[in-house]
């Protein structure tokens, strides 16, 4: 029956995540850079901004351009002509973020300033 075959396991563990109404700001360079990246997909695809375990400070940002999942678990925001989705479980961590874009050879790209973060790592991709 194996080590997991006995009694005493509670299935599954669920934690309740705080859900808040998300506000997100894109700077003009970030908005233009994202629109340029999306190209012709803009009408069918959305930007999902999320957080996951990892990085030096506990959580890492992730941004994906994906086909619209049409999922109620996400909050949908229209930001300067972009459709941005944030999953409810990440809403408290990501509400209030400001997305910027720096067009430099070193350390350039999208950058996120997060008022909820107590700390962030040197590369700016991780927060906690």
């Amino acid at each position: 029956m194996g080590i997991l075959g006995g009694e005493g396991f509670s299935l599954p563990v669920v934690t309740s995540a705080e859900v808040v109404d998300v506000q997100i700001e894109f700077t003009e360079p970030a908005r233009l850079a994202m629109k340029s990246t999306m190209g012709e997909d803009e009408s069918t695809h959305v930007v999902i901004i999320s957080a996951e375990s990892g990085g030096c400070s506990g959580y890492m940002y992730d941004m994906q351009i994906v086909k619209d999942p049409n999922d109620d678990s996400f909050q949908r925001l229209e930001v300067g002509g972009l459709t941005v989705l944030v999953h409810n479980k990440n809403s408290a961590m990501l509400s209030g973020i400001r997305v910027d874009y720096k067009d430099t050879l070193m350390g350039g790209g999208f950058q996120i300033d997060n008022p909820n973060a107590d700390r962030s790592c040197g590369c700016g991709q991780s927060f906690g």
């Binding site: 006995g6 509670s10 990892g54 990085g55 506990g58």
Partner: protein
């Protein structure tokens, strides 16, 4: 140092633990983002021991990871299972399906230690040569592995709690004994087995000699920046040692004139006095004897 006072055959040391189970196609990758060690290549039956740390590099939990194929079994420190599961769940990406289960009461962790542990294992029908540190082998419903320490080795046994009485009786039939709480604690200290009393947010891995549980080449994980900084300095500002004393030393902080703060994490009566685990300031690490004041002098041993 006096020889370790080990039982002629084996002693069973219960090791209070937390138990969590992860299920999902990306569970291994998720753990790899979170722990101090590389779990990305863990195969069925493999064992990897790692730490879960906070952003300040301090230890939140120690996890023995076992890949059971469909599930990943995590054996953590006593009393922190809920926090560890919360930590793991909070960071699951929106596009990954990972289920986390609570098995705190379902599995019991035993340690087997002694001068003839292999004889006990052979009596159970286990080939001692098959038991290695980096693998878990199945014995009925139990899992068995081995941990090396500087003075000896320990057999780690995970057994379904419902089978604990029968399994312990089997160990007794093959020469092992169960000891009282003080004896278990003195054995733990003498062997240098760290548990939740040491592996907690009061300490950094390097202070506890756990550099082998920190992989600075695997990429970012919570605490990595701090660990890398400590590594570049070469040595921690304090380090854990074993103290041999004529009398029991209270757990907690002690001000030692000329030395500074000595933090005692565990203490137990032993064969000739008492033993303790303590963190000494760097300046005192190389001392053979430590004058604690009041006529109490402790022998200092590295773990």
């Amino acid at each position: 140092m006096p020889p370790l006072d080990l039982h002629p055959v084996a002693e069973v040391i219960p090791s209070p633990c937390s138990v969590s189970v992860l299920k999902g196609n990306t569970a291994v990758e998720h753990l790899n983002r979170t722990l101090t060690v590389n779990t990305s290549e863990i195969q069925f039956g493999d064992r990897v021991d790692g730490l879960l740390c906070n952003a300040n590099g301090r230890i939140l939990d120690r996890l023995m990871v076992c890949n059971l194929g469909e599930e990943i079994l995590l054996i953590g420190n006593h009393g922190v299972g809920e926090d560890t599961r919360e930590n793991i769940i909070q960071g699951i990406p929106w596009d990954e399906e990972i289920t986390v289960m609570n098995g705190d009461a379902a599995i019991t962790h035993l340690r087997l230690v002694g001068r003839a542990v292999n004889r006990c294992l052979a009596g159970l029908g286990i080939d001692p040569l098959e038991i290695r540190q980096e693998r878990w082998i199945e014995y009925g419903s139990a899992l068995v592995s081995r941990t090396e320490y500087s003075e000896s080795y320990v057999i780690e046994i995970l057994v379904p709690s419902a089978e604990l009485v029968a399994f312990t009786a089997l160990l007794h039939e093959n020469g092992a004994i169960s000891s009282d709480r003080n004896r278990c604690e003195s054995l733990r200290i003498e062997l240098g087995i760290l548990d939740y009393r040491e592996m907690n947010p009061a300490f950094l891995p390097i202070e506890l000699g756990l550099a082998h549980m920190v992989n600075l080449n695997k990429g970012c994980y919570p605490g990595q920046e701090i660990h890398a900084r400590m590594d570049s300095r070469g040595r921690a500002s304090r380090e854990i040692v074993r103290l041999l004393l004529p009398a029991r030393l209270a757990v907690g902080k002690h001000k030692v004139p000329g030395i500074g703060s000595v933090t005692v994490t565990a203490s137990a009566d032993a064969q000739d006095g008492s033993v303790a685990l303590a963190l000494l300031p760097r300046s005192a690490i190389d001392l053979e004897e430590l004058d604690l004041g009041g006529g109490v002098v402790a022998s200092v041993q590295s773990l």
